[in-house]
């Protein structure tokens, strides 16, 4: 499917927002606040940090909305803005941490992961989410973003390629490698989640059907 054939459900609101209609943009904010906040949260692990970054993403999107030409879905473009905002933030934070962090702190973080996995009431949503986010945080940034966009946000490969501005093959490779690593990092959840609905299994293991 080419971008020209995509019917963007946000097109009219985007057009109005580009003409300065703040109400139209407010509707877009409410429509995507959960996705954008959760994307930022999955990439940063902190509610406050994610809140700030998601806000920043929307503010930047509003500033730049006149430059959005509709070459992709608005949603894809908004994800792209968000990923750029978070990446910029992580990059600057990483530089700061390199100056101040010590190996002891890194080890303490791993202990925290283990403690979370051993927490009673493990099925609790908050703990489960935190465990997943910790596992994601253990991935290199390029793998983390790709697998988050695919398996948490539900974007298809083409949208992810557009969002990250990389070839489809790169997206496929990153997602494959991310899942490989997460299989180890999420082992406790995978072991316990055998009965969970296999939402992605039919597609990934399509060959099993043949």
């Amino acid at each position: 499917m080419t971008p020209d054939t995509i019917l963007d459900p946000d097109a009219e609101l985007v057009r109005q927002a580009a003409q300065g209609d703040r109400h139209a943009f407010d509707v877009l904010v409410r429509r995507y606040e959960s996705q954008i906040f959760n994307l930022a949260r999955a990439m940063t692990r902190g509610d406050d940090e994610a809140d700030d970054l998601a806000q920043e993403a929307f503010v930047r999107a509003y500033r730049a909305i006149r430059s959005f030409r509709g070459d992709s879905l608005f949603r894809t473009w908004l994800y792209q803005v968000t990923v750029n905002v978070v990446r910029t933030h992580l990059s600057s934070r990483s530089r700061w941490r390199r100056l101040w962090s010590t190996p002891v702190e890194a080890g303490a973080d791993e202990d925290g992961d283990a403690a979370a996995l051993a927490t009673p009431g493990f099925e609790d949503d908050v703990v489960r989410r935190d465990t997943i986010d910790r596992a994601l945080a253990g991935l290199p940034e390029d793998l983390r973003v790709a697998v988050t966009l695919r398996d948490i946000q539900g974007l298809d490969y083409r949208e992810i390629a557009e969002t990250l501005q990389v070839p489809m093959g790169t997206v496929e490779s990153r997602i494959f490698r991310a899942r490989q690593r997460l299989r180890t990092l999420l082992a406790p959840l995978l072991g316990r989640g055998a009965g969970a609905p296999a939402l992605a299994r039919p597609a990934v293991a399509a060959g099993d059907e043949g």
Binding site: E33, A50, R129, R179, Q180, A203, V204, G207
Partner: protein, 165 residues
């Protein structure tokens, strides 16, 4: 299919159901015969399932209101920083200045032309054809002289005025 490398590439692509029928069948055949790839495919599916079922974090209350407030608060600074915005807003001012400049220069030219005409009239030796009202535009001429010129219809000269006739 060349082997496990291709199978793994297609496992990923199969995640979107974007494999064509021939590749899908080839992948299925490979998975049947390759335990390692079968295990890999299962692992990929399991991880995807866990991630897909990740409980979404609730958006902090008042999030959209805070975005809106930031947009309101930042509007003036953002617009100031955006040169296109303020340059467009200056267009009416620039147009007004341009118009004023044109009018001013046009007026100056008219006055200059009038003064030149008047000067010609003053040096005209034929007093009967001189236009008295033109004399009134010459600020250098004494008011009494101008009045006498108008009333009598005869051209008067000031003491310092040169005659060319």
């Amino acid at each position: 299919m060349k082997g496990c490398d291709d199978a793994r590439t297609w496992m990923a692509r199969g995640g979107d159901g974007s494999l064509d029928e021939a590749l899908r069948l080839a992948l299925a055949a490979h998975l049947k015969s390759c335990a390692a790839c079968r295990d890999e495919a299962a692992g990929q599916g399991d991880v995807a399932s866990v991630l897909h079922a990740r409980p979404a974090a609730a958006v902090p209350p008042g999030f959209s209101a805070r975005v809106s407030a930031r947009l309101d608060r930042g509007a003036s600074w953002i617009e100031l920083a955006e040169w296109r915005t303020w340059t467009w807003r200056l267009v009416p001012v620039a147009a007004a200045l341009f118009l004023a400049a044109v009018l001013w220069s046009g007026g100056s030219a008219s006055r200059g032309q009038a003064a030149a005409s008047m000067s010609v009239a003053l040096v005209d030796t034929d007093g009967a054809r001189a236009a008295p009202e033109a004399v009134l535009w010459d600020s250098s001429i004494d008011e009494g002289l101008a009045l006498r010129t108008v009333l009598t219809g005869a051209r008067q000269t000031t003491p310092g005025e040169q005659r060319h006739d």
